[in-house]
Every structure is written in C-alpha cells, then in structure tokens.
C-alpha cells in the first residue's frame, strides 16, 4: 500500500480539517491513517474529503463518462461547496447541481437536442443519487430525491437507441422488483446476457454506469440491471421489501423474466454482484443453476465481520456497548441507520443488527458453486476483505479466477469504482473467454 503522500509532497490540500464546526467529528480520521475496511482513503482517490464523502465523490465523478460528455467540473464544483462531514451541506450542494443539470436536460429536449438531453438526464440522475445517499428515511427529501433520480434515468432511457426498457419483475405475493433491460445493438438473435446486481447502497439505475450496463452493450452483451428486496430502489418503491439471505429466491424470479425474452441466450447468462452483491451473487448461483457464470466484486463470504468493522470503532469486540462507541455523526454511520431499516432491524440495537448479519454467510456453499467464477478485490479495501475473500476462493472447486486490483492500477477502492474502464475490461474479457469455452459462438 502506497501511503497517500499529498501532504509530504506539499500539494494543495483542498480541504484542511476544520478546527471547529460540523466537520470536527471527522478530524480523527487522518489522511495518512491505515485504511479501514472497504472505504479507507488511498492514492487513487480524490483526497478532497477525509470522510466517506470522498468515496461517494469518486462514485459521482464519472457521471459524464457514460453519456457522451465530460463533466468532472460539475462534480468538483459541487464538492467545493461542501463542508467535509456536514451532511446538510452535502445534500444542498448536490441538490443544486442536480436541479440545474436536470433543467438542462429538459431545455435540450424541448429544443430537439436528444443526445444532449439524454446526457444531461444521465448526469442529473447520478447527482440526485449522490445527494440522497446519506439521508434517513424520516427525511422527506430522501424519497423525493430518489424519485427524481429514477425519473431522470427513465427520461434518459427513452432516448437510447435501442431504448433501455424499464421492467417490473414479478415477485412473491404479487409484488414486483425494479429493473431495466438493455438490449445490445450489436448483432441480433439471442445474445449473451449479464444480470447486474448492486449491494447495500445501490439502485438499479446507477448500475448502468459503473455496474457495467453501458460496457456490456458496447461489447455485444445484453445487460439486465436489477434489484432484489431491501436494495435502495426496491425498498423505496415498496418498504415491505427487506433484505433476505436466501438470495436464490429473488434471483429465480429475475432469471424467469430474463429467460422469457427471445433475445437472451440461455447458455450464456452471467450474474455480476457488487459490494453486498458479492454475497448475494455466489449465494444465488449455489442454488440457481440456470446462471452459467458469476462475478463477485468484492467477494464477501461473511457479512457480519464486515459490518462490525465498518460501523464499530476499530478493534472493538462486537457486542460491547457499541451504541456508545459508534460516532453517530459520521456520514457512513448515518447511512448505516438507513441500511439497518432495509435489513428489517431499523428500530433495534446495533448488536441486534450484527446478529442479523450473521445469517448472511456462504460457509459450506463452496462446493455448491459450480459455474465459472471471477473474483475482483481492491487493494484499498483492506486486509479483512482480502483475507476473507481469498480463504473462500481457495475452497472453490469451480473454474475460477481471482484478480487483485492495486493502487498502481488506480482501481484499488471498493468495487473498483475509481477505475470502471479497468473493471469492465477485467469482467468482460473474462466473460468473453468463459462463454467461448462454453462452446457457443460469440459472433
């Protein structure tokens, strides 16, 4: 791990720690501190914030890249209006930017400039998502901003050729799960298809971006962006849908939908899971045998120790007066409260939440995963993630590949979010190879 060396080399420190005020609670996180689990600061990150804001900024910065135009200035100028660690300034700044860019979309659309409109709606969708990331459910802005996020993406979806199709996946008890089907324009007939899944903080809309939707259709794959119960959009649309460990159940409904289409090649159907999806995807394929390849970025075989490390102070034994030790003002911890609601343990103690996470375990399923599997891990995610991933990987008996992305690659952060190009290259080059080996011609 190369330590972040901004300070050593005398570069501009764009955001010195405030000496007082709302940002002070983050003053204990040093820029040079050893990375904590998953979201630690590392060389390939903007370094504009010291809090988890930096990771979310890196996630928003490529917003323009998936349309046709760059807009890194939009993200950077928004960041300049934010006080590190101050959630309110975060929400206000992103709201301003999202409103402005969404308006550009409408202006372009009424002027007949469809490409410019689509591009602006795509960016606005990401800015809305970035803005509400930390908001609690009791804050009315959370749902309002989610709705704007979704409506911007829906407007952009219509402006693609072929259009991105919004899908309601039939699910248990007459309920539905949200998704989008992206048909590749390259080639016709039944195409290889990748089902893309987020994790604990994603909507299916944003999977168009770094999740790999745009990268898939460019390479001649269909993409199915979807959410299961508990994920951000599914829960916003129906709060009775909470997370469940038996992910093969929602996956079965999603696969039923995908295989009902006449443009999907059933022999070449991949499932790609991100973050908490690095638990869901391997779990699903252990039971759902219609899926013929699986990707986990990162592979998370046990969620409980991950969340203990994320939300508790380092080196704190779980269960020991945690509520008193967790700094509830920290952005990531506030997010954790929302996350616990989506797990169905919203009103309960942190200990109860950790206990619940114990149900999410892949232990014993190593031999049940039979399709080829790709595991991607970032060096910046810390040893806890890497060690757990590798131990599980070693026990897999399926055809498998493991890829550690380094800081030198500039893709070392959780889900390779600071280098989507490299991420997509690793994923799709591997899928190309696997599906050709499956004996099906890709032409």
């Amino acid at each position: 791990m190369i330590p972040r060396s901004n300070a050593d080399q005398g570069h501009v420190n764009p955001n010195p720690p405030p000496t007082s005020g709302p940002g002070t609670s983050n003053g204990d996180v040093s820029r040079k501190a050893a990375p904590l689990v998953m979201f630690g600061n590392s060389p390939g990150m903007p370094g504009i914030f010291q809090s988890n804001f930096d990771y979310q900024l890196a996630r928003a910065m490529p917003a323009g890249a998936y349309g046709e135009g760059g807009a890194v200035g939009e993200a950077l100028s928004t960041a300049r209006r934010i006080v590190d660690g101050d959630l309110e300034s975060w929400v206000v700044a992103w709201t301003e930017t999202a409103e402005r860019v969404e308006k550009i979309g409408h202006t372009c659309l009424s002027g007949g400039h469809a490409i410019s409109a689509r591009d602006a709606f795509l960016r606005a969708a990401i800015y809305w998502k970035t803005g509400f990331f930390y908001l609690e459910t009791k804050d009315p802005r959370q749902l309002a901003m989610y709705n704007r996020h979704r409506s911007c993406f829906l407007q952009a979806a219509k402006l693609f050729d072929p259009p991105i199709e919004p899908v309601s996946i039939p699910y248990e008890n007459g309920k539905t799960l949200p998704g989008y089907f992206m048909r590749t324009a390259a080639g016709s007939g039944r195409r290889p298809t990748v089902m893309i899944l987020g994790g604990g903080d994603t909507t299916c809309e944003e999977l168009y971006y770094w999740g790999g939707g745009a990268a898939a259709v460019r390479r001649g794959y269909n993409a199915f962006l979807w959410e299961g119960p508990g994920q951000v959009g599914a829960y916003a649309l129906d709060p009775t849908l909470i997370y469940r460990p038996d992910w093969e159940v929602p996956t079965r409904y999603a696969v039923d939908y995908v295989l009902s289409r006449d443009d999907v090649d059933p022999k070449r159907l991949a499932l790609s899971g991100h973050s908490m999806g690095g638990y869901f995807a391997p779990r699903a394929v252990a039971y759902e045998k219609r899926i013929t390849a699986v990707i986990a970025n990162s592979l998370l075989p046990e969620l409980k120790p991950m969340f203990e490390a994320l939300f508790a102070k380092p080196n704190t034994p779980a269960g020991e007066k945690l509520n008193g030790q967790v700094d509830l003002r920290k952005p990531l911890t506030v997010f954790g409260g929302v996350f616990r609601e989506r797990c169905g343990v919203g009103g309960k103690s942190v200990e109860a939440f950790f206990e619940d996470m114990g149900r999410y375990s892949l232990a014993g399923l190593e031999g049940q995963i039979t399709c080829p599997m790709l595991v991607i891990t970032g060096e910046g995610e810390g040893l806890l993630v890497a060690a757990a991933e590798h131990a599980f990987y070693e026990k897999l008996t399926c055809p498998k590949m493991e890829r550690m992305v380094s800081a030198l690659d500039g893709g070392e952060i959780h889900c390779t979010l600071n280098n989507p190009s490299l991420k997509h290259q690793i994923e799709f080059d591997w899928l190309d190879d696997v599906f050709e080996k499956n004996g099906a011609s890709r032409a």
Binding site: N6, Q9, G10, H11, V12, P14, P16, P43, G44, P46, G47, I48, F49, M61, P62, G64, A65, G67, G69, G70, A71, V72, G73, E74, A79, R80, R81, I82, E88, V92, T97, E99, V101, I104, T107, C108, H113, I115, S116, D119, R141, N147, R148, S151, R219, A407, L408, D409, G410, G411, I413, L417, N418, N419, P420, S421, L422, Q425, D429, D432
Partner: protein, 419 residues
C-alpha cells in the same frame, strides 16, 4: 415527481477550498487549484481527469499517478505518467492479442493520453519530445484500427507534401454527413475536443495536423500565418469525399492559436459553413506575449518547469517564435461571411475578452455571437473541466445553424447563445 426539494434553512455553507487559494496572483485566470500548487501541473492534471469522459483516462489512474509526483519536480511527473502509460499500454497489447477488441482499444486510448502527459517533461527540441509524440501516434493508430467503424488514417495533399490526418465517421453507411475540421494541435490530442461528440451527433470529424502541428515542424512544414492556404487543401480533400456533405463543413479551433487559425481561414475560405473559435481571436499580436504570462506562466528564472517545456511546444505549433510573423497574424473580420460562435470564459484575461466582443460586432455575418462561460455554468476554466458543456453549446448551435433554425442574416444570435 418534480416537486421541489425543500432544504433546511439556516445552513452554514462555506467553500471547501481555501477562499484565498489562487494559483498565481499574476494570473487573470484565477482558477481554484485541484491538486498541485504549480498551476500548469494542476491544469494538466485537470484536463487529464476530464478526458475520462471519453475513455481518455480513468479517475483512479490519474489520482494514483498524481500521488507519486513531487510538487514542482519535472522528472517525477515524467516518471509517474510514463509508468502508468506503459502499464496501460501493456494491458492494451495483451487484450488485443487475446481478441478483446473493445478493451484493447480503450486501453490504447488511455495510454495515448498518459504518453501525451509525458511530453510536458521535455522541451520541443529534446529528442525525447519527438520520440514520445511518435510513440503516442503509434498507439493512437492501434486505437483507430480497433474502433468501429475504424478511424481512417489519411494524408491530405498539400503543396507537394501531405498533412497527416484522421477521418472519423459515425458509421460505415457512407451517407453524406456534416463534417467538422480541427487542426490546432497534434491530431491525437484533438480527438477529445471534437471526436466523440461529433460522432454521437451524426457528424464526421477530420483531425488534421496543420503546418507546424504534430511532427510537421520536424518534417519541414512549419506554422504559416496564412492558415487559409492549408485549410483550402483540407476543404479540397473533404469536398472530394462522397461521405461529406460539401454544404455542411464546419471548422473548430481551440486555444488562442486555434481561435486564430479558424477565424483567419474562415475569412478567406468561404466553403466553410460555420466557424467555432474557442476562444475568438482575430489579432494575435497583442495576445501572443500574454499567453506566456496569463495562460501558462513561465518564470524568468530559466529553471526547467512543465510550463517552460510547454511554452516551447506552443511557440512551435502556433508560430509564436518570430515577432515579425506574429505581426502578420491578423484577420479581416469583414471577410467572415459564415455564422461564427466564440467560446470565452469569465476567467479569460481582459484583453482576450475585449478582442472577442469587438470581433463579434465586426464580423460580416450577423450570426456572430460569443458565449462567456461562468463558474455557475459548472466550468472553472475554459470548459476543460466540463467538456460536455462545451460540446453541448457548440454542437447544439451548429445543429441550429446548419438546419437553418438560425436564418442567415437573421437575428438568431440570441437563441444561439443560451444564457
């Protein structure tokens, strides 16, 4: 769905960056620094980061390289970008060998960007400068060959020699299309400025090394002030192509040099249907010295810096070495009979802004307008941190001009410069 978002009142919002942070008190372009104290390094880093939007870089790769650069140290700049370039080039070659065309071409393009950053580590007269330029050219040609449809590598006949160029088409249909020309820097660099947005909107794009640019200076084709002469050769070439609509050929130029090249050409070559000057320049003489104090500040100490290296390149490619030649770099605005759009920035130095505003009033075609971008538009400096804004503005204007939405001689300028 579009109910306004109500934020809590009374919020103390202050800028995250130090309010006093200016790269250099002498600079009119008081852009807030992003990463480096050295204004040129910071601008170079910003432009590199911006290119990610067209697959020209990746955010994590940029920050990872930047973290290994010592402030103000040229060799560490060269080393950091060179290492990254080699790494990404190796990915490209490996992906190409295995038949992963999309991944290979994307990696080649990023490697080109990173090698082009290595260029600032040497003066134009340094053999390493030429070698690195040649290297980036080789890799761009791999990107070109793997693109769909492939980017054509072409040579435009010019006074017994040739101007190297790339011709980009939205598809392989052979349909006659509007076409945009750019030629003020090495063609590989120019890709980002017009390539992707042109293709997306159904335009062809011609990226050409005009005299002085790219390797031309090394091949006996130096910059010439009468830019209409090489541009005429380019128009002759384009008009002979069956996939170019000769009535819809437009020209774009970036930087002071590019702004001059296109307005000068448009004043003489009336086959040009519209002109976008970014920024609008019609008289280089008063501006030439300011480029090296206000845009890239070169210190008097004689110490090698990224800016001092870059200044040798700019002087070479824009003909700013000979004071007598600079005096001839003037445009008779009465000759500009096509619609003209100037792109300027509220951070531009006053002399540049004044020249643009005066030129608009004097241009023969009444559809001449200048758009001055502000930080509120989401652009902190010449839209290099918001290429989408630049492209949306110029291509939406071109769409309107070419479709007749703005009638020749009409008063469409107001619509052409949305606020």
């Amino acid at each position: 769905m579009t109910a306004p978002i109500q934020n809590r009142p009374g919020l103390p919002v202050r800028p995250c960056y130090p309010a006093t942070a200016k790269p250099n008190g002498e600079q009119a372009s008081a852009r807030q620094p992003l990463y480096f104290k050295d204004p040129f390094a910071d601008l170079g880093f910003l432009v590199t980061l911006s290119k990610h939007a067209f697959g020209g870089s990746e955010i994590g790769e940029c920050y990872s390289a930047a973290a290994r650069i010592q402030e103000g140290d040229v060799p560490s700049w060269t080393e950091a970008w060179g290492t990254l370039a080699e790494r990404v080039e190796a990915l490209a070659r490996s992906a190409e060998v295995k038949g992963h065309r999309v991944s290979a071409r994307q990696c080649y393009l990023r490697a080109v960007t990173y090698y082009r950053n290595v260029l600032w580590g040497a003066r134009a007269s340094d053999p390493r400068y030429r070698a690195t330029l040649e290297k980036s050219r080789v890799l761009f040609k791999r990107f070109a060959a793997l693109s769909e449809p492939p980017i054509e590598v072409v040579e435009i006949p010019y006074e017994g020699a040739v101007l190297p160029a790339y011709f980009l088409r939205p598809d392989a249909s052979g349909k006659r299309r509007p076409t945009i020309i750019i030629g003020d820097n090495a063609s590989e660099e120019l890709y980002y400025w017009v390539g992707p947005p042109a293709l997306e909107r159904g335009y062809n794009a011609l990226l050409v090394d005009l005299p002085g640019v790219g390797l031309n200076s090394f091949h006996g084709l130096p910059f010439r002030f009468d830019t209409e002469v090489p541009v005429k050769a380019v128009l002759d070439y384009l008009c002979a192509r069956r996939d170019v609509d000769p009535s819809r050929i437009v020209i774009y130029g970036g930087g002071e040099g590019g702004g001059y090249i296109v307005t000068r050409a448009a004043a003489h070559e009336h086959r040009i249907a519209a002109c976008v000057a970014d920024p609008l320049v019609v008289d280089m003489e008063p501006l030439a010295p300011l480029i090296f104090t206000r845009v890239i500040s070169v210190s008097d100490s004689g110490k090698e810096t990224l800016a001092s290296n870059a200044s040798t390149v700019l002087r070479l490619i824009w003909g700013l070495t000979d004071p007598e030649a600079i005096k001839k770099m003037k445009v008779d605005t009465r000759g500009i009979t096509c619609p003209t759009l100037g792109l300027n920035d509220s951070h531009d130095y006053p002399e540049l802004l004044q020249q643009a505003r005066a030129a608009v009033a004097a241009i023969a075609n009444k559809n001449a307008t200048v758009r001055v971008f502000t930080p509120e538009d989401g652009s902190n400096y010449r839209q290099v941190d918001n290429f989408g804004l630049k492209h949306r503005t110029m291509f939406d204007w071109l769409d309107d001009v070419l479709s007749g939405a703005i009638l020749p001689g009409g008063d469409g300028a107001a619509q052409a410069a949305p606020g």
